[in-house]
Point group: C2
Amino acid sequence: MTKQDVRARILHVGAEIIHKKGFNNTGIQEILKTAEVPKGSFYFYFKNKDDFGIQLIDYFSNFFFTNFDKCLSDVNYTPTENLRRFFNTFLAFFENNDFCGGCPIGNLSQEMADINDMFRERLQEEFNRIKNKILECLKDGKERNEIPNHLDIEEVADFIINSWEGALIRMKVTKETTSLRIFDKIVFEHLLK
Amino acid sequence: MTKQDVRARILHVGAEIIHKKGFNNTGIQEILKTAEVPKGSFYFYFKNKDDFGIQLIDYFSNFFFTNFDKCLSDVNYTPTENLRRFFNTFLAFFENNDFCGGCPIGNLSQEMADINDMFRERLQEEFNRIKNKILECLKDGKERNEIPNHLDIEEVADFIINSWEGALIRMKVTKETTSLRIFDKIVFEHLLK
């Protein structure tokens, strides 16, 4: 493996374990054992576990935004149709993944925001980035008269990402996608109609 | 302290620490040290840490429903006004608690649902209990023509509790209550109008 491969491999394996078990509940040793990488390699790429956690947020974020951008730029659909399609791609994803995991950004927020300010600030940026992406979509939708005039789209963008996070928590508990379907219906068939 | 006091004290102190640091990130030893209770007492009341966690859910639930019932039964307000008042009581609460903690049921769900089926099932019951309480309110509101006819109140009840959970995660990240205020405005001034 090249150096870049080793770093990517640690992040990839760490992401998978932490996404399921949580950050505090996962030891570096477990990640390295699963990744089949010696301990020294870890400290070559990451100062410590917190530094690894922060780089993990970048890793999740890149993955997320690549899909987000791709989905939102499909000119065959209107802006709010693209937004709706984006959230709905997750339905199939979670159906294939035992309704586990949820959103890594939401999970880390829940777990770390109260106990680690460095994580909290980085996660706040990430939420703002997602919110702004949704907002762009709603702005485009507004220009096309897709959005009811009485709505404040800044607030709606925040509400959408927050409500989605909550729907994912409920999915983890019920192990089915009713909460995501209700999110889809109420946001796109009631609120935005 | 009487026996009942010791059990209550362990739960009270444990609730506080776990609410902030998470279940897996908190050791029994830390709880007992803070509670100033010997180890033997713990195992007199709780079979193991998981059993303690399940009893902790009851503890959170009793606290929650006592306030919920009290708030919802105030005859000076309409059903949806009472529901709105209930959620808004938390605004002041979180302002006085550094916007930390969020919802213990949501937190444990995020942390435990994927890794412990006993917790998951107990948390699922709890979510259903909250949802049914909100649904009662919406049913009463519907009888008084407070709720738009096109809404499926079963779905709205689920949507409300899920969206609230998400708003609380965002609050933990931003350390202010914008997400809760947006939840209030969009649910009670748009969706339910």
